[in-house]
Symmetry: C2
Amino acid sequence: MRSVSIIGAGQTAFGEHWNESFRDLIGKAGLMALESSGIEGKTIQAIYGGTMASGRFVGQEHIGALIADELGLTPLPATRLEAACASGGVALRNAYISVASGLYDVVAVGGVEKMTEISVEEAGFALGGAGDQETELFHGATFPALYALLARKHMEAFGTTEEQMAQVAVKNHYNAMFNPNAQFHREITIQDVMNSGYVASPLKLLDCSPISDGAATVILCETSKAKKISENAIEILASTQASDSLALTGRKSLTELMATKVAAKLDFEEAHLKPSDIDLAEVHDCFTIAEILAIEDLGFFKKGDGGKATEKGKTSLKGEIPINPSGGLKACGHPVGATGIKQAVEMFFQLNGLAKERQVKDAKIGLTHNVGGSGATAVVHIFKKAQVK
Amino acid sequence: MRSVSIIGAGQTAFGEHWNESFRDLIGKAGLMALESSGIEGKTIQAIYGGTMASGRFVGQEHIGALIADELGLTPLPATRLEAACASGGVALRNAYISVASGLYDVVAVGGVEKMTEISVEEAGFALGGAGDQETELFHGATFPALYALLARKHMEAFGTTEEQMAQVAVKNHYNAMFNPNAQFHREITIQDVMNSGYVASPLKLLDCSPISDGAATVILCETSKAKKISENAIEILASTQASDSLALTGRKSLTELMATKVAAKLDFEEAHLKPSDIDLAEVHDCFTIAEILAIEDLGFFKKGDGGKATEKGKTSLKGEIPINPSGGLKACGHPVGATGIKQAVEMFFQLNGLAKERQVKDAKIGLTHNVGGSGATAVVHIFKKAQVK
């Protein structure tokens, strides 16, 4: 297996795009990534795309070919991957494998979702397909309800408070103020979160990530070639993935996501690193409790300490390990299939020192963590600035 | 890139499964493949699954994790791939790449679809997502209509007749008589096809593949290890994929599928073979015209001669190149995500001489051809019996 690097990245603004179609969004992000990498489209050898539920959101499947078509890159092999909200993450990982294998030298991998074309009720059903249709969604357990169960359990086991969870949202909204591509540019307070209505107790409206449209793309290249092409190459040190039961009922524990723990353990082994080596991370905060679970399960904080660490500012932009400098899913937005790629886009900007006002100081090694459903898939990547020449 | 072989194969019957769920079907095919390979589940290192539109058919996404969960194989990395009706094909190809790369030694790859849970009208809409939603389906062009355009063009250009197309259905129904897993066990005549009602002229009901439930799975293993594990290992000599415009309006020609031609050319180069070296093929006959296009575009017959060759029996079980001994999509059935894997299952049986009454004589090298939509994706594989020891 060869070393693989990212040589270019592009992202549309996340939000409500009434005037741009699914096609427009992924086309735009693709062109931005090509421009960022400085290569021409004809250099690309294969295309990978991550989308969760385009069939329900826009009545469109066959997403790989659609992307190749939109970018004028037929007859390249073009493939869609899906793992619910980790669709971007698994697309990135399979694209990575195709280059690491020696099969291709340069590939494009995008993620896209257009979620605002259908009603919120229909979107809730589409997203519910990330859990177990037969034992969860059919009985009314939508995603806020599933994460509310995880939150309640964490509160009981470790004394995590609603205010601590609210602080995740406050921090991520603050970070998003400095991200021009973020869906929300509005600072919020703990009191704002506490006063927002309950969606599924203890989770309130401002504990939840939004419904979003958007796309993101990165260009992958074999590292020795990448260093010649781009001064901005960032190397993928590790790429791992794990699964767990689709339904919460199948889990051994509700205070941790086992798939995250397994993927993270393998990832740190592959990269020969430990959690304390990581300078910043983009983690999967679909709900505020999910970020608390993530920073514990990834090994940044001891199990049960995630809420307290957040409260103390340890995960803020200037804290000991900045989490979600992009604003995360909570405030940058969560077009589900795009999220795993957007995390890699953020790493490209951060590790190259191009993140402007949200730049994490001395960012050398970064981690991304993308979760599908209530934790049945987790994908973890570690990135490092590739040494030029 | 290492050599990769199939060491086991399993398939449920294709048809209407009122008493088995999506989960049941893929679980069953997975266990059959494990049993066929003689290995235990714990030997598997990763799972790949092909499904086209489970979100619309059964309200379920996150198919990779679902399969790992159902087979008790969490926390293995488990990923779903989609390329419309070529979802099985792209799943097989990405699983192949993961083993060829050296990342894994043994992986399972399944395909599954459960299409009968929704109305035929809704299914038509779900399948329409394989074409271009915005410029085709939205305006009423469902799949029979798109292939009817291709058929009409072929008739005009080469004098292909409705009777020649009918012969594809007659042949495939005949072959399916000997396949216990086929959806239809009923011989039909050219007159039956001609008398069946027009769905989209010139295509009649019996020119169309059915709506089906079903699943299929194969186990892939690095070849040197495969030969030690199984006497039935069949080697994948080549695995290629190509794309084309999603909508028919974007095509340079309507008398050929360019994606098939590109993928086939690359495939024969990779395998160091030519069309005349192939002993049998499973090709994508979603409509009878599709088989005629396929046998021309794959190079078995000159462009325009597919209809005549079929009429003369050259593609029958005892013809010069038997096409679709399984019964094809037309008569074995077409649970869309499962089809690309079922084709590989058929090769496993044929090349091992285990296909009983439908056995192709002296079958040594076989080809599978899986198409997404109206030809925006094509995946081609070539297989050969691996020399044992």
